[in-house]
C-alpha cells in the first residue's frame, strides 16, 4: 500500500512520510538559525574588537545606559521565552486553546518590551547620545556657548552606534517573531494543527528563542559592562 495515500493532506508531494518531512523541516530551520547566529554574531565580534581597542570610551558609554529599563526588558523577554516553551509543549499535546492563549500573552509582552525599548531610545535621543546626524552635545551643556561645550569623543559615538545596531537588529527580529506568532495563532485557531502535525509551531518557537538568546547577550555585554 503506497504510504502516501493514507497520510493526511499535510504531506508535501516530494516527501515519502510525514516523519521525514518533519525531520527535514527541523534540519532546515536549524541550518537557517546557523545563518542568523552568524548574522548577529558578526556584530558582536565587531563590538568585542572595538571594545578591546577603546575600553575606556566604551566603559563611559556603557555607564550612560538606562540599565534598569534593560533589566525590565530582560525579565519580560525571559518570561516570553518560558511561555513559548510551554506553548510548544501544549501544541505537542494537542490542546490548541492553550497554545493560542500562551502565544497571545507572548505577543503582548513583546509589545511591552518594544515600548520600553522605545522610551529608552527617546531618552537617549534627549541626552544627545545618538551618533551621526544628531547633536552629540550632552543635554546639560546644550545651553552653554559653543566654546564651553565639549561634544562626546568619537569613540563614545562608536559605542552608541553599536548600541543602536544591536538593539535595532534585535527589535526588527522581534517584530518578525511577533508577526510569526500571530500567524501561528491565526492558523491554530483555524484548526490547521493537531497533535500529530504542528511543525510550523515548532519552527516559530525556535525562531522566538533565537530572538531571546540575542537579547541575553545584548543586555549582559552592552548594558552591564559598567566598571
Amino acid at each position: 500500500m503506497d504510504p502516501r495515500s493514507t497520510d493526511n493532506l499535510h504531506l508535501h508531494e516530494q516527501f515519502e512520510t510525514l516523519q521525514q518531512q518533519e525531520y527535514a523541516a527541523t534540519l532546515g530551520m536549524w541550518a537557517f538559525m546557523a545563518t542568523e547566529f552568524l548574522l548577529i554574531g558578526v556584530l558582536f565580534v565587531a563590538y568585542g574588537v572595538c571594545r578591546m581597542r577603546w575600553p575606556e570610551a566604551f566603559r563611559r558609554g556603557s555607564s550612560e545606559m538606562h540599565y534598569w529599563l534593560g533589566f525590565f526588558e530582560t525579565a519580560i523577554i525571559l518570561t516570553t521565552s518560558f511561555l513559548v516553551t510551554l506553548a510548544l509543549r501544549a501544541a505537542k499535546l494537542g490542546n490548541n486553546r492553550q497554545v493560542i492563549a500562551l502565544f497571545a500573552t507572548t505577543v503582548m509582552l513583546g509589545a511591552g518590551f518594544l515600548t520600553i525599548k522605545g522610551t529608552e531610545w527617546y531618552l537617549e535621543y534627549g541626552e544627545g547620545l545618538v551618533p551621526g546626524y544628531f547633536t552629540t552635545i550632552p543635554t546639560k551643556e546644550a545651553h552653554l556657548p559653543p566654546d564651553q561645550q565639549h561634544p562626546r569623543p568619537v569613540q563614545e559615538r562608536l559605542f552608541m552606534l553599536f548600541y543602536y545596531l544591536l538593539t535595532g537588529t534585535h527589535a526588527v527580529h522581534m517584530l518578525i517573531g511577533m508577526g510569526l506568532l500571530s500567524t501561528m495563532m491565526f492558523l491554530t485557531a483555524r484548526g490547521k494543527f493537531s497533535a500529530s502535525y504542528h511543525t510550523p509551531i515548532e519552527l516559530v518557537g525556535i525562531y522566538w528563542h533565537f530572538v531571546d538568546l540575542v537579547w541575553i547577550f545584548v543586555f549582559s555585554s552592552v548594558y552591564l559592562l559598567r566598571q
Binding site: E16, A34, T35, C50, Q155
Partner: protein, 550 residues
C-alpha cells in the same frame, strides 16, 4: 578524425507519442515563472547566469582593450574603474557563485539521490527570485553612475571617499546572498533526508559530496558578508564609523570580515567544479575513481579549512607578524586537499579505456589549469613572496587560473556532459572538439603573461602603466580576443543542437549514476518508481565501453 555517426540504442520515437517530460508538461509562461520543479529552476538559472556572463565578459574585454596602450586613452580613469569593478561584482556574485550549484546542482541533486524534488521547492524558487532581484539592482547601480570601489569595497574608500552608486550594489548583493543561502540549505537538507533506499553516503557520486561541501560554505559564510555590507551601507548613510578611522573605527576590521566571507566564497566557486570532474573522468575512462573516500573527505576538508585562511589577503595590510605566520601555514594546509584531488583524478586514468569526447577534453584541461592555479596560490601564501607579488597582476593571473581555468572550464565540461540529459538532444561533437582547443589556447595566452607582469611589479587596477609593461599586456589582450571567440562557438552549437541535434537516448555515454536511469529529458517527477540502489558508485567494471559519439 572520422566521426562515426551515432546509432542510438533505441530508434528515436516518432514525435507524436514522445512521453511528456518536464519541458513539455505545462508550457505557459506562468508555469515557468512559478515552477517549483528543480529541473525548471535549473533552466531559469542557466538563462539568467548566461546573460550575466555575457555582461561580465563584455566588461572584461573592454578592460583588456583599455590596457593595450600604456596611455590608456581608450577609456577615462572613471570608466576604467567602473568597468573592472562591475566585471568583478557581476562575475563573482552573479555568475561564478551560482554557476554550478544553482544550474547543474539544482538539476542533478534530486536525480542523483533518487528523490522527486529538493526538500523545499518553494524556497528553491524564492532563491532564484532573490538572485534575480539582486542582479537587477546591480545593473541599476551600473546604469545610475556605476560603482568604482573594486569588488572588494575596501573602506574608508567605499564609505566616505566615493559618491558612486555603492549603496544600491551593496543592497543588491545582500539580497542575492540570501538566494545563495537558501540554495545551500536546500541541498544540505535534501542530501540528509531524501536519499532513496540503498543510497548510503559512500554510494553517492562525488559530485554530490562537492555540492554538499559547497552548500556548507554557502550557509556559513554568506551571512557574514550580508552583515558586513549592511555596515558599509550604514556608514555611507549615517556617517558613523565602525570602519572609518577618523571616527574611531579600523579599516582593517572590514578586511577581516570581508575576507572571512570572500575566501570561502572562492571555494564555493571551485569546489563544484572539482565535483564535476570525477563524474566526467570516470565515465570516459570507464573506471572507478582512484581513492573515492580521499576525494570525498578532501571536499569536506577544503570546506572547513577554507574558513581559517582568510588573512593571506592581508599580509601587507598591517596585520601582526604572528597572525601572518599563522594564516600563512593554514593557507598551505588548505592546498593539501586540493593536491589530493588532482593526484586522485590523474591516477583514475591509469589502466582505463579513455575516450576523448568534448567533456573529457574540458576535464583534462581543468586538471592542468587547476594545478597551475593552485601552485601559484601556494606562492602567494608564502609570506616572503607575498610582500612582493601581492596586489599585482600575479594575483590577477592566479585567481583567473582558478576561476576561468577551473570553475568555468568545469562548468562547460558539465554542461556538455549533462546536455543530453537536460535537453534530450546531442550537441555536435565536431564543433565541440573544435572550440575546446581554441578556448584552451586563448585562455593561456591571456593569463600566462600576467604572471610575468605580476612578478615585474605591475599593480592591479591600473588604467595607465609604465611603457616597459606593454609587451605582456598586448599579448594578454590578444589572448582575450581568441578566448572571446572561443566562448562564442559553444554558445552557437549548443543552441543549434536544441532544434537540430539528434535525439539522445536515456544514457548516451552509458554512464553509471541514477540520473542516467530516467528518460532524458526526465519526466516531471523524475522516477516512475523510487529506485533502489544496490551496487557501489562508478561500477564501470561490469559494463561494456561503447564507441558512442566519439
Amino acid at each position: 578524425m572520422t566521426t562515426a555517426d551515432y546509432i542510438p540504442d533505441v530508434a528515436p520515437l516518432p514525435a507524436a507519442i514522445v512521453p511528456t517530460n518536464y519541458l513539455t508538461d505545462k508550457e505557459s509562461l506562468l508555469s515557468w515563472l512559478l515552477t517549483t520543479d528543480h529541473k525548471r529552476i535549473c533552466i531559469l538559472y542557466t538563462f539568467s547566469i548566461t546573460a550575466f556572463f555575457v555582461f561580465g565578459s563584455a566588461m572584461a574585454f573592454m578592460v583588456r582593450l583599455a590596457l593595450l596602450t600604456p596611455g590608456g586613452g581608450w577609456v577615462t580613469a572613471e570608466t576604467y574603474n567602473r568597468l573592472f569593478t562591475m566585471h568583478g561584482v557581476i562575475m563573482v556574485w552573479f555568475f561564478l557563485i551560482p554557476s554550478i550549484p544553482a544550474t547543474l546542482g539544482n538539476f542533478l541533486v534530486p536525480l542523483m539521490i533518487g528523490a522527486r524534488d529538493v526538500a523545499f521547492p518553494k524556497l528553491n524558487l524564492l532563491s532564484w527570485y532573490l538572485f534575480l532581484v539582486g542582479g537587477v539592482m546591480a545593473l541599476i547601480a551600473m546604469v545610475s553612475g556605476g560603482v568604482d570601489t573594486g569588488w572588494t569595497f575596501y573602506t574608508p574608500l567605499s564609505t566616505t571617499f566615493l559618491n558612486s552608486a555603492v549603496l544600491i550594489t551593496v543592497i543588491g548583493i545582500f539580497i542575492a546572498g540570501f538566494g545563495t543561502i537558501l540554495t545551500g540549505i536546500n541541498f544540505i537538507v535534501t542530501m540528509h533526508t531524501m536519499r532513496c533506499p540503498g543510497m548510503t553516503w559512500f554510494r553517492m557520486p562525488l559530485f554530490l559530496w562537492a555540492i554538499y561541501a559547497t552548500s556548507v560554505i554557502q550557509v556559513l559564510a554568506t551571512p557574514v558578508l550580508a552583515m558586513t555590507l549592511i555596515l558599509v551601507g550604514v556608514e555611507r548613510v549615517w556617517h558613523v564609523g565602525i570602519f572609518d578611522p577618523a571616527l574611531g573605527g579600523d579599516p582593517v576590521l572590514f578586511q577581516h570580515f570581508f575576507w572571512f566571507y570572500s575566501h570561502p566564497a572562492v571555494y564555493i566557486m571551485v569546489l563544484p567544479g572539482l565535483g564535476v570532474i570525477p563524474e566526467i573522468i570516470c565515465c570516459f575512462a570507464r573506471k572507478r575513481p582512484f581513492g573515492y573516500k580521499a576525494i570525498a573527505f578532501a571536499s569536506m576538508a577544503i570546506a572547513f579549512l577554507g574558513f581559517c585562511v582568510w588573512a593571506h589577503h592581508m599580509f601587507v595590510a598591517g596585520i601582526s607578524i604572528y597572525a601572518g605566520l599563522a594564516f600563512s601555514w593554514l593557507s598551505m594546509m588548505v592546498a593539501v586537499p586540493s593536491a589530493i584531488k588532482v593526484f586522485s583524478y590523474t591516477a583514475t586514468l591509469y589502466k582505463g579505456s579513455i575516450q576523448m569526447t568534448a567533456p573529457m577534453l574540458y576535464a583534462l584541461a581543468f586538471i592542468g589549469l587547476f594545478v597551475i592555479g593552485g601552485l601559484t596560490g601556494v606562492m602567494l601564501a608564502t609570506l616572503g613572496l607575498d610582500v612582493h607579488i601581492h596586489d599585482t597582476y600575479f594575483v590577477v593571473a592566479h585567481f583567473h587560473y582558478i576561476m576561468v581555468g577551473g570553475a568555468l572550464t568545469a562548468y562547460l565540461g558539465g554542461i556538455h556532459y549533462w546536455w543530453p540529459k537536460i535537453t534530450g538532444r546531442l550537441y555536435s561533437e565536431f564543433f565541440a572538439k573544435l572550440s575546446a582547443p581554441i578556448i584552451f589556447i586563448g585562455y593561456n595566452l591571456t593569463f600566462f603573461p600576467q604572471f610575468v607582469l605580476g612578478y615585474l611589479g605591475m599593480p592591479r587596477r591600473y588604467h595607465i602603466y609604465p611603457p616597459d609593461f606593454q609587451v605582456y599586456n598586448v599579448l594578454s589582450s590578444a589572448g582575450a580576443t581568441i578566448l572571446g571567440i572561443g566562448y562564442l562557438i559553444p554558445f552557437c552549437y549548443l543552441i543549434w543542437s536544441l532544434k537540430y541535434g539528434p535525439r539522445a537516448g536515456d544514457n548516451p555515454w552509458d554512464a553509471t549514476g541514477l540520473e542516467w536511469q530516467t528518460p532524458s529529458p526526465p519526466p516531471t517527477h523524475n522516477f516512475k518508481k523510487t529506485p533502489i540502489v544496490t551496487e557501489e558508485p562508478y561500477a564501470y567494471y561490469n559494463r561494456k565501453s561503447p564507441i558512442g559519439p566519439a
